[in-house]
């Protein structure tokens, strides 16, 4: 952690995907994306599908390499870290919890395995016995508002989507990263659980000072949760700023169109023309 409090600095990253074997063509994933993320800040990336939100997330997670540009984590080039060290600092909650869990193991296993990552990253300086691990897991789950007796020992198919998502957040909480990348964490859950997950992220930010990169296509969620917003379109960031400004006084024509297509509860769209 540095003095200025910048956790993540994304400097002009571009990614092209190459298709084909002999006659190749290039497809733009993301172009000239730059932003800073401070400690305890939530930045939301908003855009429709295909706008390059997940490409940016995958680059930050080091799952794909940028074609050009640099990513700095805690003032060091992201690729200068070893993998274990990097994932100790950056964790992710993916869109689809059903495909994240291994269906052959109980949900305890990913939580238990989180400690292995800590042990590896600290070169064995931090060690946890089984009992300690269990204790920490219990405490974390209780903090997340889940009943550990009810959830531990179950298989993934016996839990609901919202519970799985919260388990994944609990897992990253055990690891204690500096940056959490949340890639549409609420898309598979319904209204009531959605608010619970968002509140959980807000609370984590406050308590742990974790920086969160929140990726969503739901404008209302982005507005509710974030301190800073960036709207993406066709791989580029078209508008950025405070959420109140971006969503209620949009400047770019695309943002205006996006806001207009959000359904409102107390207002009916007019399709008569």
């Amino acid at each position: 952690m540095n003095k200025t409090g910048v956790v993540l600095e994304v400097d002009n990253i571009t990614r092209y995907y190459t298709l084909g074997y002999i006659f190749t063509r290039q497809v733009l994933g993301a172009e000239n994306v730059s932003f800073n993320l401070h400690r305890g800040e939530i930045l939301s990336l908003v855009g429709e599908s295909g706008s390059g939100k997940s490409t940016v997330a995958n680059m930050i997670l080091r799952l794909i390499k940028p074609t050009s540009g640099k990513i700095y984590l805690d003032d060091r080039d992201a690729y200068s870290y070893s993998e274990v060290d990097y994932w100790r600092r950056v964790q992710v909650v993916f869109q689809d919890p059903y495909s994240t869990f291994n269906y052959f193991y109980t949900v305890d296993k990913p939580l238990m395995d989180a400690f292995n990552l800590i042990e590896k990253a600290s070169w064995g300086k931090e060690r946890f016995s089984q009992a300690e691990r269990r204790e920490i897991i219990m405490a974390t789950l209780e903090k997340m508002g889940m009943n550990p007796d009810e959830i531990l020992g179950r298989y993934p198919h016996q839990t609901s989507g919202g519970q799985m998502q919260r388990l994944l957040i609990a897992r990253s909480l055990i690891i204690g990263p500096h940056l959490l990348v949340a890639d549409e964490p609420t898309s598979m859950t319904d209204a009531s659980t959605r608010v619970a997950i968002l509140n959980e992220l807000l609370r984590l930010r406050q308590e742990k000072g974790m920086a969160v990169l929140f990726i969503t296509h739901d404008v209302a969620q982005a507005y509710y949760i974030s301190d800073k917003t960036a709207v993406m379109k066709d791989g580029r960031i078209v508008e950025t700023g405070a959420p109140k400004k971006v969503f209620f006084e949009p400047e770019h024509s695309y943002t205006k169109k996006l806001i207009a297509s959000v359904p409102k509860l107390h207002e009916k769209w007019d399709f008569s023309q």
Binding site: E48, S160, A191, S192, P243
Partner: protein
Amino acid sequence: MVNTSWVQKLADKNQQVLKVVDLKGYYRGAFGVVLGVDGVSVRVAEKESLGLAGESGCGKSTFAELITGTPVPGLHYEGGTVEVEGYDVWHIPPEVLRKEVKCKRMSYVPQAALNSLNPIKRLKEFVADMLRERTGQKYSPDQAREMLADHFQRLNLEKRVLDLYPHELSGGMKQRAVIAISTCANPSLLIVDEPTSSLDVSSQRDMVKMLIDIQRGGIIKSMITVSHDLAMLRQLCDRIAIMYAGRFMEAGKMDEVVSNPWHPYTRLLLASLLPLEEWIKDQNLKSIPGRHPDLRYPPPGCRFHPRCPECTDECRSDRPPITKKDGRQVSCWLYPR
């Protein structure tokens, strides 16, 4: 026992497209008996658009599947009647159900219907297959294309779409094409399950516009939309039914239910929504405490009582009566007859 009264087409005195009385459907398997839908009654009149909302696992899709008469394996019909334009869906021979009711009178578009297109066939070949099954006559893909071209154009879809493979279409386009194909025989009743859940914001708007066009253009008479997205249902439906744990909690005109919810569950559900409005930022939105009950062992009395802030002793022991007032109905002890 098969009831043969399907022959007499009941006169459409009240112009009801769908009549469901005390419908019950349970899932049976090694896991036990899950009371998916437990005593639900609803009527859908002509030119009416009904929305069905609730949390996941509350039985919305189960209800939609029971209406179609061909539920997924494991789901069993346990009682009650479902009448689609006079056809008692559960007491007619399956062949009559297939030929006379499905597609002609009722179309069902299940969840993630966009994945039901055949990936190795062009859309027109898929449509030709479907027409052959429905009419018993053979059609070439080009004939099928000509037959559906007008229908597609009425719904603002290009004719060109029929010449493409599913992977060449975007998600929103696929979903719209599937709905266009399933309404090609002008069914009276269209049931759509989560039409917008896998689409992003701008295609959602197109989807809603198309569903409104279908109804206004007279292609279908009535529509049931199942969704957990209340803001979307608000744009689409005249009437809404809120479902919880296999039963209806509240039903009524959309505007009235949204602006003045009666049932505590509806109130909590509406409070947990995230509308894009300026005031939500500093508000601490509340989720509904507790979790949806395991429907193998539903709580006695009112099914919402373990999570209800206004729960009384009566709620714990007895099932609340259905109170009807001003065209609205609510199933709660707070509103006695």
